[in-house]
């Protein structure tokens, strides 16, 4: 019960917040939730399976375009939202078969290349609306229930995030999760212990893509239009920054990282648009903060915020301290 307490508290705060926020604050709240959703996937992929993806923005884009295309053609929004993660996962499955043969920086560049190719194609093809993109995506609705205001989208986003976190937690705790951790350390060793390396990598790649796709779908309904310009390469970098800052391979770390970065950028945006600041100030400040936070965390807090902070707290649950104090039984003999 004690262990569930922080989760319950976080849930209660999350549910209560939209009632107190105005529309511009709600927009930040929604984007924070969407970023967290993608970052959980990045954290799972990088932290557990040890695969670097610089193309998570591509799956976000696939989700957004899927939801947009389906509903602009008159399809039901619910189908659009459900199709978004499915399409993103299917896309990841198709590109993952050749790409996941690569590892390390090769995979990073290959995923980056995938995003660039996708954006370039979306900017040229007729049915995606070219560079202008898709306009007039309807509000999200399910049956007779229509999500009107920003508060509705906030609940939708955070419900999606809760689902994503739950799925991730269960994957981590399962046999497959242990297999993933094993293959992150050594694929050869994992394979020789019977972990189906290729299949697991592909599955977790698709899962993280599905998370990004779901976020993209909600994004499309909330903003109402999608264009290639909405998904720059920097977006994928942002997710890496958030995952690394929060702590790779931790579910809460991903959420914390997304929150810290989003709020920091938001504060700097306010500072940057103060009267007397040059017009380029908001952009410059956000670039600088992404970069500096990323560099400082990688160099000085390589485990990320959440694990580092958690490690400093007194071990209340009596899990880490006794283990450290007791001499290892194997060493005594």
């Amino acid at each position: 019960m004690k262990r569930a307490l922080p989760g319950v508290l976080a849930g209660a705060v999350t549910l209560a917040l939209p009632a107190f926020l105005d529309d511009s604050a709600l927009a930040v709240y929604i984007f924070l939730g969407l970023a967290a959703m993608v970052t959980v996937g990045v954290s799972l992929l990088m932290g557990y399976a040890g695969q670097v993806s610089l193309g998570q923005g591509a799956f976000y884009a696939v989700g957004a375009y899927t939801a947009g295309l389906l509903t602009v053609q008159g399809g039901p929004p619910l189908a659009g939202l459900l199709a978004a993660p499915v399409a993103a996962a299917a896309f990841a499955l198709v590109v993952g078969v050749p790409l996941l043969r690569l590892r390390g920086h090769h995979l990073a560049f290959a995923t980056l290349a995938t995003q660039l190719i996708l954006l370039s194609l979306a900017g040229q093809l007729e049915f995606t609306g070219g560079d202008i993109g898709l306009q007039g995506i309807p509000q999200f609705s399910a049956g007779s229930f229509e999500v009107g205001g920003a508060a509705g989208y906030a609940y939708l986003t955070w419900a999606g995030l809760a689902l994503v976190m739950l799925v991730t937690r269960n994957v981590i705790a399962s046999r497959a999760g242990r297999g993933l951790r094993a293959l992150a350390t050594s694929e050869t060793a994992a394979a020789s212990s019977g972990v189906p390396v290729g299949r697991y990598k592909l599955a977790v790649f698709s899962l993280s893509a599905a998370f990004a796709g779901l976020a993209g779908g909600i994004y499309a309904f909330y903003v109402g239009y999608v264009a290639p310009g909405s998904f720059p390469v920097l977006l994928s970098v942002e997710y890496i920054v958030m995952a690394v800052v929060g702590g790779l391979g931790t579910v809460w770390g991903a959420v914390a990282g997304a929150a810290v970065i989003t709020l920091l950028v938001q504060v700097l945006n306010v500072v940057g648009t103060l009267p007397g600041m040059p017009s380029y100030a908001p952009g410059v400040l956000s670039y600088a903060v992404y970069a500096l936070v990323l560099i400082v965390v990688v160099l000085f807090l390589p485990r990320g915020l959440v694990p580092s902070v958690a490690g400093r707290l007194p071990a209340r649950r009596g899990r880490s301290r006794p283990r450290a104090a007791r001499p290892d039984p194997d060493l005594r003999t």
């Binding site: 670097v52 050749p98 790409l99 043969r101 690569l102 590892r103 390390g104 920086h105 090769h106 990073a108 560049f109 290959a110 980056l112 290349a113 995938t114 660039l116 190719i117 370039s120 194609l121 040229q124 050594s186 694929e187 050869t188 394979a191 390469v233 920097l234 970098v237 890496i240 920054v241 690394v244 380029y280 952009g283 410059v284 400040l285 670039y287 600088a288 992404y290 970069a291 500096l292 990323l294 560099i295 990688v298 160099l299 390589p302």
Partner: protein, 287 residues
């Protein structure tokens, strides 16, 4: 036919620019094991500062030289951040150079604005016997690249620092045993990378205007070429870069300009996947 020849030389010039970026990547990766994501940034910094220095009244030649030196300084700084701290894993260094590249955006916008900049290259053009017209600047790019590669070969094979760099590349442990400071050699490699990237930027900017976010495209092209030489062999990287440059320019010349990016990136993906399928996992993990 004359049209084809023009495209060919243009393509070779573009390819030479890519080759310089790729050789910087290879130099850094060989010695440090780090893939330097900020390699395109060096070119952008050099291009932008050359155009700024020319605008400030410096003569041609001096401005370009100063710009290349600025890029080399940027390379050294990147190296200090990326590998200066003991025990930084190459994977972490990659993420740090990613951070450096984004940080450079902020610096570049403050220093030079966010609009594309360019400056005139070598003016005039020559007509070949077949009737093909070739801009002099394209020839300059090709000649400068050829000279650079000759100098690089001499540097690596005839000078002490060059040999020390090669030693670190082939076996860092053994290099350290015989008294070579591997970290310092890594920094030297980053300096060299900055120099090469800067040279590419100065040569390419007159061909196509450059802005702060051009670095992604330059970097991806350079990486595509470097991958052709498995990120270790400058000669193969040069071949890959020339192939890439010619293919892109021909595609653009014959009406597929919009698909330039897809061609370059598709090429890179195919090369990488084929290479990966020919390597055993266990070998790669051991390295």
């Amino acid at each position: 036919m004359s049209e084809f020849l023009t495209y060919l030389v243009n393509g070779l010039a573009v390819g030479c620019g890519i080759a310089l970026i790729a050789s910087g990547l290879v130099a850094i990766h060989r010695v440090t094991g780090v893939v330097n994501f900020a390699q395109g940034t060096f070119a952008v910094i050099a291009g932008l500062s050359a155009s700024w220095l020319l605008g400030a009244g410096l003569p041609h030649g001096a401005a370009e030289l100063a710009a290349v030196l600025i890029a080399a300084a940027a390379g050294l700084l990147t190296g200090l951040v990326a590998i200066g701290r003991r025990g930084t894993a190459p994977q972490s260094s990659l993420i740090i150079t990613l951070g450096v590249a984004v940080l450079a955006y902020a610096v570049e916008i403050v220093a030079w604005g966010d609009q594309p900049r360019s400056f005139p290259g070598l003016p005039g053009s020559v007509t070949l016997p077949g009737g093909a017209e070739i801009q002099r600047h394209h020839l300059l790019v090709v000649a400068a690249t050829a000279a650079t590669f000759v100098l690089l070969t001499l540097f690596f094979e005839r000078t002490y620092p060059g040999k020390a760099l090669s030693a670190c590349a082939s076996n860092p442990y053994a290099a350290r045993v015989i008294g070579i400071d591997v970290t310092r050699m890594g920094l030297l490699a980053f300096l060299l990378g900055g120099l090469l990237g800067g040279l590419a930027g100065v040569l390419v900017t007159p061909l196509r205007p450059i802005s702060f976010d051009t670095d992604v495209l330059l970097m991806v092209n350079g990486f595509a070429a470097a991958v052709f030489g498995a990120l270790r062999r400058p000669g193969l990287a040069l071949a890959g870069a020339l192939l890439l440059g010619v293919a892109e320019t021909l595609a653009a010349g014959y009406g597929y300009a919009a698909y330039q990016t897809e061609i370059a990136l598709g090429f890179m993906l195919v090369v990488m996947v084929v290479q990966a399928s020919r390597r055993a996992t266990i070998h790669e993990e051991a390295v």
